[in-house]
């Protein structure tokens, strides 16, 4: 991939004071109450928080699956908060690689076709598609599983296919939602090693998890509680860009 061209001080995600309200029956739920966050390229960030903290909502915002009720969200300098559904689809397709807890592979398609899918939506021709899909599958160590369908693969292999799929469009960020949640701890460790490798090669990774040992793999940890950022340790390289309105002091960085 083009990891060598990545610059580590490029601002990828710039969120300022975003809120998200849902109407649940009669009452309004304030899932996010004003969150500001900046993420630079080649960061390895974990978003943590108990259920109901707004962690999933923030992930949906970061992944451009949803738009905020108020506040500003810029992705690579482009204002995302007012984009149409199809424009968001385009951003997701080109800029974001999703890794889900439940893998979300197409059950009846082999590894290659699963990985090719984002390229289909990007309008890449079949030969290039095949070439790139094969390349990333080899990168995640599945060169010998190109024609296997998901039900012929182990859980760890499935998640590798999903990671290959997330990588294939060379996205600006990889957004992983509980990527080891459905795996045993040994396989989970393998997946985390893979993420570590990707990070070392220059990728920007955002993990969403409630497990502390998974979050420990990241270089920076953001904790959410009740729709607000409870703590942000700033991590490596990002401390200067901490939002000033964050009321809580950053914890010490221990890496």
């Amino acid at each position: 991939m083009t990891s060598d061209t990545r610059s580590s001080d490029l601002l990828v995600i710039d969120i300022e004071n975003i809120t998200k309200d849902y109407v649940m029956g009669e009452e309004i739920v304030h899932a996010l109450r004003g969150v500001s966050l900046q993420i630079h390229s080649n960061e390895y960030l974990a978003i943590m928080g108990p259920s109901g903290s707004g962690k999933s909502t923030l992930m949906n915002m970061l992944g451009c699956l949803d738009t905020p009720s108020s506040g500003r969200y810029e992705f690579n300098g482009r204002d995302v908060s007012s984009m149409t559904d199809d424009e968001l689809a385009c951003i997701r397709n080109r800029e974001i690689g999703f890794v889900f807890q439940t893998f979300n592979l197409l059950p009846r398609a082999d590894s290659l076709r699963n990985v090719e899918l984002p390229l289909v939506y990007a309008g890449i021709d079949p030969e290039t598609r095949r070439e790139r899909a094969e390349h990333v599958l080899r990168e995640v160590g599945l060169g010998d599983r190109l024609y296997h369908k998901p039900n012929e693969l182990s859980g760890g292999q499935r998640q590798r296919v999903a990671i290959a799929r997330a990588l294939v469009n060379d996205p600006s960020i990889i957004l992983a939602d509980e990527p080891t949640g459905n795996l045993d701890s040994k396989t989970g460790d393998e997946i985390m090693t893979l993420f570590e490798n990707l990070y070392q090669r220059g990728h920007t990774i955002i993990l969403v998890t409630h497990e502390a040992d998974i979050a420990n793999h990241a270089r920076r940890t953001v904790r959410l509680r009740d729709g607000l950022i409870e703590s942000d340790d700033g991590g490596f390289g990002g401390i200067d860009n901490l939002p000033v309105e964050d009321p809580l002091p950053a914890d010490a960085v221990v890496y």
């Binding site: 199809d86 009846r108 939506y121």
Partner: protein, 416 residues
């Protein structure tokens, strides 16, 4: 454009995989379309067959022949005004032909008298009843379209001399002479023997109502000698140029008025009939049969379409998470819409193909079992059926596909 093509081929692959993995469901759903297409196709072939039979029946009358008759070939409200008209006499033919010959640049060629009634025909122990016995002259051939299976028509000498000769239709020959040639044999009509000189080849039926092959044609003088009472007579007049049929008709009206000696202030007491007039009378009937038939069979296709719609809704529901995943990976609304439209359409097309195959086999079967049954299977029918299948697929897939394309990706991904 390229991107659209890639999405199209991707959607097609998914549709095929989807059908393969849900074989029972797809088959049962397609069955509704199969039945619908079979019904519509068979009705289509029947209508096409009726059309062909209709045209064939009409051709018997010839598109260049005018018929002078007592009654018009169309329904009339004031039938009493026609009932009391003078009968058309075979003797009119002679003066008409004289006038035609005396008219320069006449649009008419020749007038041929015919006189007909129904009688039984006997040969040995066999008998055929309700045979149309027709007396005419040898020039009858000029106004007719039939060929001979065997033998010939009676000649001018036999015609004028009123010889006891006759030409018989295919059905009469078939019934009376199953194992031998009828030529030179004699049949009995009204106790009188008539020598057979020719057999007319098979003509079929008139609109499936009665056979055109149950006929015996003989010289007019012989006919008048033995069957003078209660016969209906017409004068057949051949037209020179069928493109100028209306002029020819006007000319013939003038000729007939002279023959009948009608003063100018009196209305015609005869009718000039032609194939076209009969067609325009029967066309609306034929068309309403076609519309009613297609509507009723169309209902069965509609039920099939509802089946497809239902299964596509189920498919959208079942695959909500897949839709969410696809959206997360960058599928736009149009992509999702297209995908489900293609799934419903390919299911309908599959049903359409099978339905056409079944209809083809049934058509061939019916055609072989009942050769006289008017049924036609054509390429245009195949194309129309395919188009109908595709339209059915688009129609039934649209609502579910639309709802899928509008799904919120977050909700779809979280759907259990």
């Amino acid at each position: 454009m390229k991107r659209f093509l890639y999405e199209l081929s991707e959607s097609w692959k998914i549709a095929v995989a989807q059908m393969r993995s849900n074989k029972t469901r797809s088959t049962l759903t397609a069955l509704g379309v199969i039945i619908g297409i079979v019904a519509v196709t068979l009705m289509g072939t029947a209508i096409a067959g009726i059309q062909v039979g209709f045209d064939k029946s009409m051709a018997i009358f010839g598109d260049d022949v005018l018929y002078v008759s007592q009654w018009p070939w169309k329904p009339v409200d004031d039938w009493w005004n026609f009932r009391d008209r003078k009968k058309i006499k075979t003797e009119y033919a002679e003066p008409i032909n004289r006038i035609i010959a005396a008219t320069p640049n006449s649009n008419l060629v020749i007038a041929v008298p015919t006189s007909s009634l129904l009688r039984s025909v006997k040969y040995g122990q066999s008998q055929v009843s309700n045979v149309l016995i027709r007396g005419t002259v040898s020039d009858y051939l000029i106004t007719s379209t039939f060929d001979f299976k065997e033998g010939r028509f009676f000649n001018d000498v036999e015609s004028k001399g009123g010889a006891n000769v006759c030409v018989i239709g295919y059905d009469v020959a078939d019934a009376l002479f199953p194992a031998e040639s009828p030529i030179e044999k004699s049949v009995l009509i009204n106790g009188q023997p008539f020598r057979i000189v020719g057999i007319i080849s098979r003509q079929g039926t008139f609109l499936g109502l009665f056979s055109l092959d149950s006929i015996v044609v003989m010289p007019l003088p012989a006919f008048q000698k033995y069957f003078s009472a209660k016969s209906d007579s017409d004068i057949l007049v051949k037209v020179k140029d069928k493109a100028r049929l209306a002029e020819a008709k006007d000319e013939l009206i003038g000729v007939m008025r002279r023959v009948r000696g009608l003063p100018p202030e009196k209305k015609e007491d005869f009718s000039i009939n032609e194939q076209q007039a009969l067609k325009s009378t029967l066309d609306p009937i034929k068309n309403s049969i076609a519309v009613a038939g297609l509507f009723i069979t169309g209902l069965s296709l509609f039920v099939g379409a509802i089946g497809i719609m239902n299964i596509t809704f189920v498919s959208v529901k079942e695959r909500t998470r897949e839709i969410g995943t696809r959206k997360a990976l960058g599928a736009r609304r149009r992509t999702i819409l297209l995908q489900f439209l293609i799934e419903s359409t390919s299911l309908c097309l599959l049903g359409g193909f099978i339905g056409l195959g079944v209809a083809y086999v049934m058509c061939t079967g019916i055609g072989q079992a009942f050769p006289s049954f008017p049924i036609r299977f054509s390429l245009s029918l195949v194309l129309v059926s395919m188009a109908v299948s595709i339209l059915t697929g688009l129609f039934s897939g649209f609502a579910p596909a639309w709802s899928a394309s509008r799904l919120d990706p977050v909700a779809a991904l979280r759907y259990e």
